[in-house]
Assembly symmetry: C2
Homo-oligomer: 675 residues x 2
């Protein structure tokens, strides 16, 4: 077969790469061993027919859930067959790339048992769950309450006579809702319910509640459970997000997880020793979401970059004409507007990756401190992980959809591969703390740090040292960006100074607003939101810059170092440009510096043009995971789109099902055509 | 049954409305008769079981298409039954709110026959199509070419011997792709193909090509047709977007539509008299899309406003506590962040509505001029409609999804109603001219107008008069916003001056860039994009302001006038604030004026708070169209979400299909649990 123009174009673009791609792949995943392990797992999972993406598309809701069950079973079979380690199993879940009915059993139910159960409870429930002889879900959110945990309405009332908890939904808005796995599969649920003894309400606590009988899978009397129905945009299609309504459902006292709070046989309540310890798992989740944001944006930009390289549209005169073949139209990746939209997203994926790595380091260090009872870094790590979760997942979700729009009409085909990524990912802007609400966490922390700056400046943490400058209003207001020519914008200290100035000014603006009379905190959530993004963008830019020196230590070639530096620069400058008004408003950046900024961004785009294919290749996403007709490694976009369409079930008959029933009556409503 | 708190909340909010809602409904739809007609049609369509939204969800791709066919047949039956006028029929299509297999037959194929066919051709094909004895589609886009029409690869080669055109796909990328109706239903296609006679290529022309036999619906020999498969995000699910590949498919010479270009029996080609006349239908489509943007944003904000009114989350101290019932949590619509996100979108819906009305007036006036051969306003109307299409559909698509995010977790349920709106609407940012590419049209026009400003200033049209000020660079640079206190921001002349200044500066920036040596137009598409949005936002703001005086003439009550003025102000000020850097960069707006701007926006949000429910009610969208558990007129969100879930097919059995096949093996892989 003749190689298509598309394949030639992608190969030619790839050949221009200025650095050894494997070096960046190693940078992303840590080591050659890790790369090999990823490839091994990907091969196992993605070549298994049960996980074939071809079988997952175009299904009805009922078929979708059934497919999710089939995938769950196969997953456990593969685990046994290949004796996957815990990490390998988690990797499987990533490669499967669909939330499964057993997903939260693994990632939330089992961890809750170990985190909140006593040793004895862990010993009892742990193995049952690990061998999935029971299947659990994590039931916190209710129909009427999501963000506001303290408003949960489900109750667990202690019955001293029977030594039982009576689990009850006080009203139908108290029904647990959105709970993954609860719809059709779960036999048990970890339930957050208000603990009540002798009429006294102790607030939400965790209980393990049997939901469906292990004999015949029917819900127990007093338990009404089901599926909440389809989700937006075809997302979460294989998982059975469900609801449950309790009508005085009794469970043994021992089913309360009592690692922290305890209730004795005679109804004595013992409160937990330290309430903040439970922040640990929240921080872990949010830190993980930073890296995840980088990975999903990496996938979307991989697809968009490759397709934009092979897609040719319009003849452009002179300068950008294809020198080798002037009859060909221009590759769309050569248009400045495409570069201006696409390349910064690649830079974001890499910068967020650096922030994700940093979060992992910070989390581990905090954890070892916690082990010896030191909670000093808890507040900072919590604040930064919350802030980054909000900013990074917003950037990634927006970016993925922007990648789709970049791809023209075919982007709207399901087979572009982007729709699956976006519809699975965009809810992350709402769960694990709504991205708007979360911004209050980091803003509140920075306000406290501002006080620390006055009282104990030596205690300021690395990402809030700049607050020292924010203490002096006059000095802050007279700060000016030092850029004199375009290349000054490439100095890390210039970039960081800008981010610090902006965040510092927004902290002091917030502090001023908060000090006004009659102001309540929730009136300031717009200010908090602005501040949070300023702070998080500063943190990401810092991490990207820091990662350059880390990379240096790792013996990277100068070609790779150069391209990483360009990405870091593009991230910083593009981000500053996006929020330019923040810098212009107090004259920190002058009109001339704006011009120089745009000029430098354009230069960076041009400098990166030959490397973008290599940069997305470095993510090493297998074709089967991308599942994109338009973004595969060989670039054969049009052939794949054509082939994929042919395979559709609807095209297997020459005349559509429904012809006699509907089409004939339409054609003949006013008699047969006389041609 | 006791009325729920949610219903009480929405009724109470509605009761606060400061103006007669019907006045705004009349403003939106034009007259009481039109309102009544809309309601009549909505009733007929939306209460018909075939169009019930309950039946449209959770289907497989094959079932989706079959449902689309069933809806098509029912649509024609209703048209006959109720003897719908042309306008009423179009209204039906709107209320059905799903693209149907026969949709483009009605809106593109039939119009193409009348617009491009000779009188004789119209007389032959017209009635066949009107009585849907043949069903057509409009086949322009190809697998390899969308935006670039002149790159189409399908050929129609004249065979003098047989007096036939040979329709041929020169390569598989020449296959027509994305064509609605082509997948399974179309018997005929309007095809754009390169007309070739004696080896000479005359470029794309229109032909009517039989695709499937009227006897048995099988594709003709030489015709390979099918469905392109599922689309992104579950959008366009009921329509059979299809492809066709031709292998030397012969059609009679008369099947070329010859109103403009003609080919005689002996192969003589006559070129069309005026190429720009065909712009008319493009302008009509794009103008219609301006109003459509308002309507879809109106629907999304209706849902988000109502749900935010009944949704209560968190107790907020003091000032915002519910006075009537301090035990209740705060309605989320009372949070400043919610208001700051939601209310500007309502203002956008109304401002874009005003722009849509203006476009209709301009289009009609242009049309009557064209009738007498006057093409003087064609360029302006084309430019403005292109620019507005880009800006308004971007605002609306972004806004709809922002509405969903505003609604917390439940927003991601399909039953929130937003997903269907967004997934049907977002492709509009790509079709009828990609929103990024389109911006070059209006930028190019403004560059020409800038020349006109120098040479024939009296010929400047109303939306480009401001260019006179842009001619004098020094004067432009010394212009300053005149605001001295917050209320100055409410002066229409202050708002318009700001918009004009910004657009003027961006025109002259573009002109300067274009005048540099070696610059080609496509290098400037970022500048074009910025300019287009500045211009379009100026046009929208102007129309909103102009509509206030029109409303005055219509004898509106002062309450209604007040709220329209607030909306117009909020649109203008929010828009200025969104692009603040453009105004700060040349010192047009001072830091102090920024503060006053934010202050005034906050005041407007507060002033509108009691009226937002009335403002969305005024759109008069029936519950069945909104199809939202969360946004119905009575506000009973939680009850509806509960009820809707219960009705799902998957919940009709106590134990899920797949239990024995998958769940039992999972539970027993390591033996049965010993509890």
């Amino acid at each position: 077969m003749v190689e298509s123009q598309a394949c030639k174009d992608l190969a030619a673009a790839r050949a221009k790469t200025s650095f050894p791609i494997i070096e960046l792949t190693r940078y992303i995943y840590g080591s050659d061993e890790e790369i090999a392990r990823r490839r091994k797992i990907a091969n196992i999972v993605l070549n298994d027919p049960v996980f074939s993406f071809d079988r997952r598309v175009g299904l009805s809701r009922v078929e979708d859930v059934k497919t999710g069950l089939a995938m769950s079973l196969r997953l456990y079979q593969l685990r046994e067959e290949h004796k996957f380690t815990h990490e390998e199993f988690r990797m499987c879940l990533d490669f499967i790339d669909d939330y499964l009915p057993v997903g939260l059993h693994e990632t939330a139910f089992i961890p809750a048992i170990y985190a909140q159960g006593t040793d004895e409870q862990a010993k009892y429930w742990g193995p049952l769950a690990e061998k999935h002889q029971i299947i659990g879900c994590y039931a916190q959110t209710e129909l009427g309450h999501g963000s506001n945990l303290s408003g949960l309405e489900t109750t667990a009332t202690f019955n001293k006579d029977t030594d039982e908890w009576i689990i009850h939904s006080t009203t139908f808005t108290a029904s647990k809702w959105w709970i993954g796995g609860l719809g059709v599969i779960a036999t048990h649920a970890f339930i957050q319910a208000r603990l009540i003894i002798d009429g006294k309400d102790y607030g939400p606590h965790g209980f393990i509640v049997p939901i469906r009988s292990l004999k015949d899978h029917r819900p127990f009397p007093g338990v009404k459970a089901g599926d909440i129905g389809p989700k937006a945009y075809g997302g979460f299609s294989k998982i059975d997000n469900g609801y449950v309504l309790f009508d005085h459902h009794p469970i043994p006292r021992e089913n309360m997880l009592m690692r922290f709070a305890k209730v004795s046989r005679d109804g004595q309540y013992t409160r937990p020793p330290h309430s903040k310890l439970s922040y640990g798992s929240m921080i872990l989740l949010r830190s993980g979401m930073v890296r995840e944001a980088s990975m999903v944006l990496g996938r979307a930009t991989t697809i968009a970059t490759r397709y934009s390289t092979v897609r040719r549209q319009f003849h452009v005169p002179t300068s950008r004409k294809d020198i080798d073949n002037p009859k060909l139209e221009t590759q769309v990746i050569n248009y400045p507007m495409v570069q201006a939209r696409l390349f910064p997203m690649i830079a974001q994926a890499y910068a967020i990756l650096a922030a994700g790595k940093k979060m992992q380091v910070m989390y581990k260090s905090m954890l070892s401190e916690l082990m010896v009872g030191d909670i000093s870094s808890l507040a900072e790590v919590h604040s930064i992980s919350s802030g980054l979760k909000s900013t990074c997942s917003t950037i990634a979700a927006t970016g993925i959809e922007d990648c789709r729009k970049l791809m023209g009409g075919h982007g709207f085909s399901y087979f572009s591969g982007i729709p699956h990524i976006w519809s699975s990912y965009v809810p992350s802007n709402t769960y694990e703390g709504d991205n708007f609400l979360l911004t209050q966490q980091s803003a509140r922390y920075l306000m406290k740090q501002l006080k620390t700056a006055t009282t104990e400046p030596e205690k300021l943490t690395s990402f809030s040292k700049y607050l020292l400058r924010a203490l002096d209003q006059d000095a802050l207001q007279s700060e000016r960006c030092s850029v004199q020519d375009a290349s000054d914008w490439l100095k890390p200290e210039v970039q960081l100074a800008a981010f610090e100035h902006r965040a510092g000014r927004l902290v002091s603006t917030l502090a001023l607003a908060a000090s006004q009379e009659n102001v309540i905190w929730s009136d300031l959530n717009i200010e908090c939101w602005r501040l949070n993004h300023a702070q998080s963008e500063y943190v990401i830019a810092s991490c990207a810059i820091e990662s350059l020196s880390l990379a240096k230590d790792e013996d990277m070639s100068s070609g790779t170092m150069h391209v990483l530096k360009r990405l870091s620069d593009l991230f910083a400058l593009h981000t500053i440009h996006t929020s330019l008004s923040d810098y212009l408003e107090d004259y920190y950046i002058s009109p001339n510096q704006c011009q120089l900024l745009r000029q430098q961004i354009k230069s960076l785009l041009t400098a990166l043009a030959d490397d973008v294919v290599g940069l997305v290749d470095a993510f090493d996403f297998p074709d089967q995971l991308l599942n994109s007709a338009l973004g595969s490694y060989d670039g054969d976009a049009y052939q794949r789109l054509w082939d994929t369409a042919q395979k559709q079930k609807i095209n297997q008959t020459e005349v559509v099902d429904g012809y006699k029933e509907y089409i004939v009556p339409i054609l003949t409503q006013y008699g047969v055509a006389k041609l």
